[in-house]
Symmetry: C2
Subunit: 456 residues, 2 copies
């Protein structure tokens, strides 16, 4: 029944890939102010595309940071549902550059994948929606649902300004439900319904000792080494059983039910040794890797630096040492409360002779969980199955999408996560990529999904 639309996508595949590559070529790195203009360009790309395919009301909403692109489509008629579609056009930094096999901002096709920063997270998946809308408009003259499209440029830095916008425009953005494609599947070709996401919070620890780098011979024995002080602090926060040894950290964590453990067990996990390249997987004592990733909180050092990092040796006692830390949290844990616990623990455990500052990252979100049996979710499972010719699995994932929690909190509409990424995509890492298989079958899934809302 959707053959005309699907055929259009097949016939225009080459053009669509070219158009996607133009999108990916824009280095829209939101975290680094040096790329501000490029971020703007990427937003403009979305704006122009929506305009081109006939969206009525279009806006570039300026914010304190990067702009939000908004577009409306009302052509589906009164009785058709209105869908809020969310995505982001910004990307993670590409460094370390020299670890990329091809330029992060010159897309390249290798072994059935598109290699580029943002290919999977999230430009590639945003583009798939644009192309599918285009296909409906060009073939059937209309899209089966009314749309309110919100594509932001600050997802990788916390979506602060999006939150303000969502909070101030509840009526304008009112919809029957929300669709987001910024997630993945448990394996390439395996349709996956995400019914739970982790929340997220972060801090930065800065340890200061002397007010300048000191000669380690002249002053070794006179001052506390800030790098050692930081190591000693961090070592009190997690033990070798991967248990987070911060007072109260687990107090609000709900225990895993046997039923959910069964469900998690039933999901065919990826080959973690292969996808991570580690010599041995490590998870919290008493929990499997899949259980830890899906349902247990995490504490990760994202970055750590102190003193001399150049060639050769420099015999100094560094003046400062810093660690960037983020935690993924589970339902019932409160991000701000966790930040307070971390700060309290750090201050209680800091050694003498150093000053310690704990900076609480604004970026934070509660965890999210939906009912896997919701009709909108079951429609999604059905559409996946038709496209991929395989039953969908239902999983929770360790990732966080703050906007999901906010939309749930502010709007209370059902949220459908239609993700097409795969474990091999190397999100946030060198050599990010996205399978052409997901590109093709993902768009087919979207076509089927929107078509379920057609009035016969």
């Amino acid at each position: 029944m959707n053959n005309t639309v699907l055929n259009y996508l097949k016939e225009n595949r080459a053009n669509h890939l070219t158009a996607l590559y133009d999108f990916l070529k824009i280095p829209s790195v939101s975290t680094d102010s040096a790329f501000k203009e490029d971020v703007k360009k990427a937003g403009q790309y979305v704006y122009d595309y929506l305009k081109e395919i006939g969206f009525s009301h279009l806006e570039t909403i300026e914010t304190k940071g990067h702009p939000i692109i908004y577009g409306e489509y009302k052509g589906a008629g009164q009785e058709a549902p209105t869908v809020l579609l969310y995505g982001h056009y910004d990307v993670q930094p590409a460094d370390p550059y020299d670890e990329w096999e091809s330029d992060p901002f010159i897309p390249e096709e290798r072994n059935g994948r598109i290699y580029a920063r943002g290919a999977s997270d999230d430009k590639g998946q945003v583009f798939m929606h644009l192309a599918v809308f285009e296909a409906f408009m060009k073939t059937e003259g209309k899209i089966p649902v009314n749309l309110k499209v919100v594509i932001e440029g600050e997802e990788e830095i916390g979506s602060e300004n999006l939150y303000v916008y969502l909070n101030n425009h509840k009526e304008k953005l009112a919809a029957d439900f929300t669709v987001i494609s910024d997630s993945g599947m448990v394996a390439e070709g395996q349709p996956t319904i995400l019914y739970g996401l982790k929340g997220f919070t972060g801090i930065e620890i800065e340890v200061t000792g002397p007010d300048h780098d000191l000669h380690s011979g002249m002053y070794g024995g006179a001052v506390k080494n800030p790098a050692m002080a930081l190591a000693q602090i961090l070592a009190t926060m997690k033990n070798i059983d991967e248990y987070i040894t911060v007072d109260g950290f687990y107090d609000d964590v709900e225990n895993l039910t046997e039923k959910e453990r069964e469900l998690i067990k039933s999901v065919e996990g990826e080959n973690y040794l292969k996808t991570t390249g580690t010599i041995q997987t490590v998870s919290e004592k008493g929990y499997t890797v899949k259980e830890h990733i899906m349902a247990r909180p995490t504490f990760e050092i994202n970055g750590m630096y102190s003193g001399y990092q150049g060639e050769g040796t420099k015999t100094i006692i560094p003046a400062t040492a810093t660690a960037k830390i983020t935690c993924r949290i589970v339902p019932n844990q409160d991000p701000e409360f966790i930040q307070d616990l971390l700060e309290k623990h750090i201050m209680k455990n800091k050694p003498a002779g150093v000053k310690v500052k704990v900076k609480k990252e604004k970026l934070s979100a509660k965890a999210y969980k939906v009912e896997p049996t919701h009709p909108l979710i079951l429609r999604a499972a059905e559409s996946y199955k038709r496209a991929f010719n395989k039953e969908a699995v239902f999983v929770r994932m360790g990732g966080s999408i703050p906007v999901v929690e906010w939309l749930d909190d502010l709007y209370g509409n059902p949220i459908v996560l239609l993700g097409f990424g795969t474990p091999d995509d190397r999100l946030h890492s060198p050599n990010e990529s996205f399978p052409l298989n997901s590109f093709d079958l993902g768009m087919e899934t979207l076509v089927h999904y929107w078509s379920t809302f057609k009035k016969e």
Copy 2:
């Protein structure tokens, strides 16, 4: 009796400062290959100066790394002693550049000090010898001692090639004793006889987890975080009492005698809170700061790095984490043995799920101690006193000069350390400087010292 020589130095002070500044302007950073040509230029500067003032035999000795400058003076005659003079023309890196109040390689005079990288360590002190030799030649037509001058360009990176040279040219470099000016005084204007130096050894720890940076949401709970693994390892190596908790580390350390504790106590120490800018001094439990610096071994993290260090947050699990560590060791401790102990401890304490590599730095030296009552030492004390008009104090210091230990080991000649640096010089740090007072009175001290060898 030395007035003509001293007057010459007074009359030519301006010229000498200009000449010194030309020397300091050359960014001879030996540790960074980007400065290779500049290091060469600095060596050439020394060569030309020695030639200019009439040194007979001159050589630029090429090595695997940076060249050694050698110059001979035989004008003092058969009965005069022959002195081996050592110094270095290379400097530490200047980074972090933005913490310098004036350009590290554009010398500037402020509040009675010369600000520039190398002003104190060691270009400034090498230059003082050159100027003093010039003064003797221009006034008395000769220098009171015969000289074998060895000025190298790799002191800041371990003097590896110098060692080879010293080891292969024992006859050529044979001398009655050795003089080195690459050390300091306990306070500005306080003549100081250094009768002991610490040895030195270093390692680099590299921890590897996944083979690429991972998304902390997708893989948090599957792998060991290398930065946390590194912190956990480091925290096992030193406790909060500043005691190095590595099996056997202190086995060869000789206990401090009450007599030496008295001697150390008698030395007026610097104001460590002021010179280090720390909120509280910290030293090994049971030892004063001065005792720890002078006579107890140290373990310092010089640099530590892992993952994302840029603006904002990047939610990754880093692939690797690295720490650069150096230890200052005391008499009887063996550098290679200490490296082995550190490696053994690290391998024993590394957590599961990471690979750990321990790289042993070649840079290493045993500690050194001389008899404070040696006649050549007493001559030095006397010369300091005449110039600074103050009795010299006798101290051991926490710093290491590998070449001192090597010369002792290979040649066995007495070594006289005539140092004029001060605790405020900020060696190896931003805003390194050298007092004009040390420049003037230090040269006067050298004039007096060489003059004690005149035949009346």
